[in-house]
């Protein structure tokens, strides 16, 4: 008999805490929503309750049981749902976003699967015998990223236990409507051992769960454990169309229900004690305060560096310099991980950034299947676990597949867990056209990658030594997206020739490069970044010859957030601001720069955005040349500016 009275009391506590949440909700004392696991408690106790404290858990929207079983932190859970700063996530996360020691939850279906795989990978890299559990529901079986993850954890033999709590409904939709085939067969197809239990035979469940945990720990392999169960309450609150008969039939099989019937005296004694505990906690929590804005969000003001020094040419190609950075950094910092597609030697990645890396660091250079969401999710998990992952997304166009992990996971973790964690992952990707790769391999999607909370976006260019940028990125605590450029990879750094202009850069963390006439007062300010920087610098003398304008060019290396001081200083002199980007110009980075400069200076000026035409980038050379910004277009637009 594995079920003892301690477990029964814990199950009762989980149930009563959740019932209290429903009561508080109906009293209007809970801001937000609640998903209860009433009826499913023993799944939580069997798995989360039998882990060690050094193990970890990733859970989902229905996580209260898992949380209480693993952490025992009833106060933190209740305070969190009541929005108090004493809560597990300071009241920021509420029901679906909890963080305590090695326990994490998020409200995005499936997204936690690769993150937990990354966490498990971190344990494996550290040669730590800790294991992890990721809880999913049967509804999550519809998410593609789950299968990307199962493929990888099986191939890489990661110590991760997937517990699929099958309560037969995805929110309100019964399984018969949206699930094909066999659940266990899905895991088996990836070569993952699959088992099943249920919450009605609790003894067998406890035993089977322990076996699964031991298997994962001892074999260092994943396992898929299906737990058939039933939630006795609605998915959330008002969304329940199930028949009463069906619910009642499961109620009869519910362990706590049966226990109450069989031994009402003991049950009532336990119930009373549990209720007293909850009442006492509630009284204490009600006096707690909510977070203030200052406590929640405190942006650090940044000072601008104004010590300008000359940019000198480096007789090396950009790609060699990035490759050298990684070779040095992976020696200097054993938490550095390089992950991506096709990066093993001798191929070394589509653009050869990873050349020879896998030979030197076979454990920390991880070549993945074609699974951009999982690459990013695993990197998120590594970052949460203290590693510095560099994820390579082969083409910038594929960043769309990364977005859920970037926006709903990486960007959120720090603030939604009230500053308890950092997620310093780095995503590197090349953008840009000019190689005839056509509509889905030539785009510049930068505008979708700026303005994301807590994410820094930087862009390399052909004038700055990339190791300067990479060193700063390596020190960042928050997620960073690095935009590289396909044409710049092969260019030698700082090699552009300009007549009678000085090429200077400041000493900022992400330096600003300024190209300014040596003697004349500039008459026009051009702001650009990334691959366009090279084109503008090469065209700067023709721009003068054709337009009479001696331009001051400001090249940004950090495109979010932008340091405007130098742009504003320049525009105060020239009164004319031209922004050039390779992406299509509407709703773009140039629009943001112009708006911010106007807002901050409050004075009228002549402005112009230059960007690509709003059509897919064609492969045909002559057509691609006119769709993307060119020196000819820039000259034409500047002449128009003065003619108007």
């Amino acid at each position: 008999m594995r079920i003892n009275h301690r477990v029964i009391k814990e199950a009762l506590l989980i149930r009563r805490v959740e019932e209290t949440f429903l009561e508080l909700f109906s009293q209007g004392k809970l801001n937000g929503t609640v998903h209860t696991c009433i009826g499913q408690e023993f799944s939580a106790l069997a798995f989360a309750g039998q882990l060690r404290k050094s193990d970890f858990i990733f859970s989902n929207h229905r996580c209260h049981g898992h949380y209480l079983s693993f952490t025992g932190d009833t106060y933190g859970l209740m305070a969190e749902l009541m929005g108090k700063k004493t809560g597990a996530s300071g009241g920021v996360g509420s029901s679906q976003h909890l963080c305590h020691d090695n326990f994490y939850t998020n409200g995005i279906q499936g997204g936690i699967a690769p993150v937990s795989a990354g966490f498990a990978l971190a344990n494996k890299l550290r040669k730590d015998k800790s294991v992890g559990i990721v809880f999913i529901g049967d509804g999550t079986l519809g998410e593609g990223v789950l299968y990307e993850t199962m493929n990888i954890i099986s191939k890489w033999e990661l110590p991760l236990l997937i517990v699929c709590e099958n309560n037969y409904y995805a929110q309100s939709t019964p399984q018969s409507v949206n699930l094909a085939g066999n659940i266990l067969a899905r895991a088996e197809a990836f070569g993952i051992m699959a088992k099943s239990s249920d919450t009605w035979n609790v003894d067998e469940l406890m035993e089977s769960a322990e076996e699964s945990i031991n298997y994962v720990r001892n074999e260092c392999k994943p396992l898929f454990h299906l737990v058939n169960t039933y939630r006795l309450k609605a998915h959330s609150k008002g969304d329940d169309d199930r028949g009463k008969e069906e619910i009642d039939s499961y109620l009869e099989r519910d362990f706590l229900h049966r226990f109450a019937k069989e031994d009402p005296a003991t049950y009532n004694k336990y119930l009373e004690k549990t209720n007293d505990t909850i009442t006492l906690l509630l009284q204490q929590i009600e006096n707690d305060k909510e977070l203030t804005l200052e406590e929640y969000f405190h942006p650090q003001p940044e000072t601008t560096d104004t010590s300008w020094k000359e940019v000198l040419p480096i007789n090396k190609r950009q790609v060699e310099l990035i490759n050298e950075f990684f070779k040095q950094k992976m020696v200097a910092d054993d938490k550095t991980v390089f992950i991506g597609e096709d990066i093993l030697s001798p191929y070394g990645g589509a653009f050869k950034v990873a050349k020879n890396l896998s030979e030197l660091f076979p454990e920390r250079v991880l070549s993945t299947p074609i699974s951009e969401a999982a690459i990013t999710g695993i990197s998120n998990g590594l970052a949460l676990a203290g590693f510095k992952p560099y994820a390579e997304i082969m083409f910038g166009d594929f960043m769309t597949l990364v977005m859920d992990q970037l926006i709903n996971h990486a960007s959120k973790f720090h603030h939604m867990y009230n500053g308890k964690v950092n997620c310093p992952l780095v995503i590197r990707t090349p953008m840009g056209g000019g190689r005839g790769y056509g509509p889905t391999h030539s785009q510049t999607l930068d505008k979708f990658l700026v303005g994301i909370d807590n994410v820094t976006t930087v862009a390399l260019n052909s004038l700055i030594d990339p190791s300067i940028i990479y060193e700063s990125v390596h020190a960042e605590k928050n997620p960073v997206v690095i935009i590289e450029n396909k044409l710049d990879y092969g260019r030698k750094i700082g090699n552009a020739m300009v007549r009678n202009y000085s090429i200077l850069r400041n000493e900022a963390k992400y330096p600003i490069i300024k190209i300014t006439p040596q003697l004349s007062k500039p008459t026009i300010t051009i702001v650009t970044y990334g691959g366009m920087a090279d084109m503008v610098v090469r065209a700067i003398n023709s721009i003068f010859i054709e337009t009479e304008e001696a331009a001051e060019v400001i090249i940004l290396t950090r495109i979010h957030p932008i340091d405007y001081a130098e742009i504003i200083r320049s525009v105060e002199v020239t009164g004319t601001l031209v922004v050039i980007e390779e992406g299509s110009k509407t709703n773009g980075i140039g629009s943001e720069i112009i708006a911010s400069v106007l807002e901050q200076t409050g004075r009228p000026m002549i402005v112009k955005r230059i960007g690509a035409l709003p059509v897919p980038i064609p492969a045909a050379r002559s057509l691609e040349n006119v769709v993307l910004p060119s020196p000819e277009l820039i000259i034409k637009e500047i002449l128009n500016l003065r003619a108007e």
């Binding site: 009678n500 006439p517 003697l519 003068f544 009479e548």
Partner: protein, 426 residues
């Protein structure tokens, strides 16, 4: 030996394209420390100082009295002391077009715009003429062809159309000072529109000064503090006169900052009285006094001279009546002329920019100002205080009988006052 830092002419105010060098504080090649004031430049507004931004040895590219363009390089700081011969080379490259290589701060492999090249070809100009420039556009070539007009592009084009101004032989030409040029530029700004009109009104000053002098310390017998005081209140009611014309439309100032023109032998300056409409008469008087002293001590700062919304010029020491000229970024100016001691009146003139406002409004402003000023003479107490008996010189306030004075006509036909005692006792 290399340049650690180049010093550029600072942009002290948006209006200045050129500044005048008024002091070089070190010898060429002298050691300087970061923070040392290495030179002084005169702007249209005030004196600006230029600091060294690094330790090193300085060389200047300009001489005292030169006019230098904003953002051009006027000095360099070197890491080691340059030999005197080096300095000579640097200075000579400025004037001679010799192809000194390795001194990029001074001579250039000049870049010419397409239009500039075309113009040079038409005028048979050699590229050698422009080695001092990094970039030569059409404007630079035009300036070279027509050195008198180095202002805006439009202006120099206009001059070209009108033909060059040939001077007759029987004149001598003295160069305009930098400050005079700026004065011309400032006054041309509004006046050149040709849409400026001036209206005049006479103000009866009898009694006003008696009332006012009591409150004044430095400017006794002057209407200026009172006029400033009343104008600043009235301008709140007449915002069109506290505005200026721009191409985008009429820009109206949100507050009133009256400027007072002063010219005490050191060039005309208009000094600002910040927040004029909140100051009392005595405060106004004190501020004008303080600013005049700063002017004489040459300690005016840029802040004392900018953002003036309305100007008052006081020529009451000299002239019977005059037409004041409107300042840049103003729509009106008020002039105070000499008080006629016999007729007890003065002429107040108001020039206004017709593009911003019109005669009727300006007229109303002046009438209302006149009424306000004259109201000071009606103050009974002060008006009668200085009335004295022409026989015993007793003041009316000392008239213990409370009879009052009687108006008499003297043997010389003058109207005078006499007290009751003198009337009966004599």
């Amino acid at each position: 030996m290399k340049v650690i830092h180049g010093i550029l002419v600072p942009q002290e105010s948006v209006n200045d394209e050129y500044l005048t060098v008024v002091g070089l504080n070190f010898a060429n090649g002298a050691a300087v420390k970061k923070g040392d004031i290495v030179m002084e430049l005169e702007t249209s507004k005030a004196i600006a100082t230029v600091e060294a931004n690094a330790d090193g040895f300085i060389t200047y590219n300009c001489a005292d009295g030169d006019e230098v363009e904003v953002n051009s390089m006027i000095a360099q700081i070197w890491d080691e002391q340059p030999a005197i011969t080096d300095i000579k080379v640097i200075q000579s490259t400025q004037r001679k077009a010799d192809n000194q290589s390795g001194n990029t701060t001074q001579t250039f492999n000049t870049e010419f715009s397409a239009k500039a090249l075309k113009l040079m070809e038409q005028n048979n100009l050699s590229k050698e003429l422009f080695t001092r420039y990094d970039f030569v556009n059409e404007q630079v070539v035009l300036n070279h062809l027509n050195p008198q007009k180095q202002t805006a592009k439009a202006e120099s084009l206009k001059v070209k159309k009108e033909g060059t101004n040939k001077l007759p032989d029987n004149v001598t030409v003295s160069k305009l000072s930098a400050s005079k040029k700026r004065e011309i530029e400032y006054l041309s700004s509004v006046q050149s529109s040709g849409l400026v009109s001036t209206i005049y009104i006479d103000v009866n000053t009898g009694g006003i000064l008696n009332t006012i002098n009591e409150q004044l310390t430095y400017f006794k017998d002057s209407l200026l503090p009172l006029v400033v005081y009343e104008c600043s209140r009235l301008l709140l009611k007449y915002p069109a006169l506290n505005s200026f014309y721009t191409e985008q439309g009429v820009a109206t100032y949100k507050d009133v900052q009256v400027g007072v023109a002063v010219d005490i032998d050191d060039g005309l300056k208009v000094v600002k009285l910040p927040g004029t409409s909140t100051l009392g008469i005595q405060e106004i008087e004190h501020r004008i006094f303080d600013l005049s002293n700063k002017y004489l001590d040459r300690k005016l700062t840029s802040a004392d001279l900018t953002d003036i919304t309305f100007t008052i010029t006081d020529l009451s020491a000299d002239v019977f009546m005059f037409t004041p000229l409107i300042n840049k970024a103003n729509s009106a100016i008020l002039g105070i002329s000499k008080i006629d001691a016999i007729l007890n009146r003065t002429i107040v003139s108001l020039s206004f920019d017709h593009r911003v406002t019109e005669g009727k409004i300006a007229g109303n402003f002046l009438s209302e100002l006149k009424a306000r000023l004259e109201s000071y003479s009606l103050s009974k107490k002060t008006a009668t205080q200085n009335l004295t008996c022409y026989k015993c010189l007793k003041n009316i306030s000392e008239d213990m009988n409370d009879v009052g004075f009687i108006k008499v006509v003297t043997g010389r036909g003058e109207e005078k006052l006499i007290c009751d005692l003198c009337l009966f006792n004599f």
